[in-house]
Amino acid sequence: MRYAMAIDTKKCVGCSDCVVACQTENNVPIGFCRDWVTETVDGTYPNVNIELRSERCNHCDNSPCVRCCPTGASHFEDGGIVLVTHNKCIGCGACIESCPYEARYSHPDGYVDKCTFCIHRVRKGENPACVSVCPTSCMYFGDLDDPNSEIVNVLKNRKFNALAPEAGTKPNIFYLT
């Protein structure tokens, strides 16, 4: 099992519902977020291309955050989901420094927090909150090892890229372009 997400940048309208859904679902403290939306504007008028991306932890295959954690608080769960065990985390910040996507933050309670792919929902067979709330249905969540899954299908038929692949982390969020 290898969980991943594909996000259609052509369908995303930047409404930020995913951000709010995550904050509500996961009780993210005010002023913090586990996912966010960026807009990249490329070119000059009239030849402009705008790309909207909903971003979050990439649950990297080669994750520096798991490697550098001195206590093993950052670890892999089933399906390659990268998780932080809160009461094992000492808040040293090494993992925050190590993430090229700036996907982690220091929770006011001291431990480090980030996207969990809503593992509590995924284990029940549901989609992550951000995916299920998206009004344009532009996100696909699923198992890359299952050849019949929607995500494998969409990645087969569309062009996609990942963020900062040169950082060598093997990210698992794909942006359909």
Partner: protein, 313 residues
């Protein structure tokens, strides 16, 4: 033209617009670690060479700073943890992949070694010192007899500790300014140099000061060479690394870096030490203090500037 902006979500304290996760404690931790490594290495080497009579400050007096430096260093690390009550878990896990983890262990091993080393000289400083227990006297006698053998692992551990202070930063691929293998050797020589400077400050023997001063000149030369090498490496690297080098070459850290680190921390002390060597009267404490301050500021700048460099946004 390409422009990137956040539509929503991101304005997280200490993450945006750039990281500020490691604060002033970490550069002090790295500085004290390097200083301790420098002193212990020189103490061990001159013990191995059988020069402990001539090099009193190097072998005996300066190592007294080390246990304090290491304990304060560890305390600094502790201060910068955000989940402090869980600190002990650093020492219930061994994860060799994590520089933070094995560094904490190296310090844990270094501290008792340095305490034992200094303790074996305590009665030379305070002749009235009483160990109270018989077995402590026996242990002291054993240490004194075997100093030469203890010096070997101590020298090796000192080098590991010195290199570690650089690796703690260089292991992070996500911070392009830190992500260079030269940082380990660079922080090691810089640590040696600050160690030598503190020995110079403590030594009363003119010959010893001259010898350590000459060594320090060598350390400074190597350090300058490594710094040039590091910046050249960045300029020949990928875009994020070129951007990192440009922080020092016209960017926001240019003035502090060149004025405090290169000029006042390396070149000026090198000139003063050379003048002293060829016979001019220079109060030797001036270059020594400059080297120490330069080393400290260098670590502050590296930790701050590294957190400004990133891949995205």
């Amino acid at each position: 033209m390409k422009e990137e902006l956040f539509v929503s979500g991101r304005n997280i304290p200490n993450i945006d617009p750039y990281l500020h996760i490691w604060h002033w404690q970490i550069p002090i931790y790295l500085f004290l670690g390097g200083l301790a490594a420098g002193i212990l290495f020189l103490a061990a080497v001159y013990t191995i060479l059988g020069k402990d009579k001539e090099m009193q400050a190097t072998v005996k007096w300066a190592p007294f700073i080390v246990p304090f430096a290491l304990i304060i260093g560890l305390f600094m690390l502790f201060l910068d943890l955000k989940h402090k009550l869980y600190f002990w878990q650093l020492y219930t896990t061994i994860r060799l992949e994590s520089p933070m983890g094995w560094g904490a262990w190296v310090l844990m091993i270094m501290t008792p070694i340095s305490i034992i080393w200094s303790a074996s000289y305590v009665r030379e400083v305070f002749p009235n010192w009483d160990w109270k227990f018989k077995f402590l006297y026996a242990f002291e006698a054993w240490v004194i007899k075997n100093r030469w053998y203890i010096a070997w692992p101590m020298a090796i551990y000192a080098v590991i500790l010195g290199i570690y202070t650089g690796i703690l930063l260089s292991a992070f691929n996500a911070r392009p300014l830190w992500n260079t293998t030269i940082l380990g050797p660079l922080f090691l020589v810089s640590g040696m140099s600050t160690g030598a400077a503190s020995i110079i400050l403590m030594s009363k023997n003119h010959e010893e000061r001259r010898l350590i001063g000459r060594l320090d000149l060598l350390f400074i030369a190597v350090e300058l060479f490594f710094i040039v090498h590091m910046i050249m490496g960045f300029l020949a690297g990928s875009q994020v690394q070129i951007d990192a080098a440009n922080l020092f070459l016209g960017g926001e850290f240019t003035v502090p870096f060149f004025v405090f680190v290169i000029l006042l921390g390396l070149l000026l002390p090198a000139v003063l030490e050379t003048l002293e060597l060829i016979g001019f009267k220079v109060p030797i404490i001036i270059p020594a203090i400059l080297v120490l301050l330069g080393g400290l500021i260098f670590r502050f700048i590296m930790v701050e500037a590294g957190q400004v460099t990133r891949y995205l946004y």
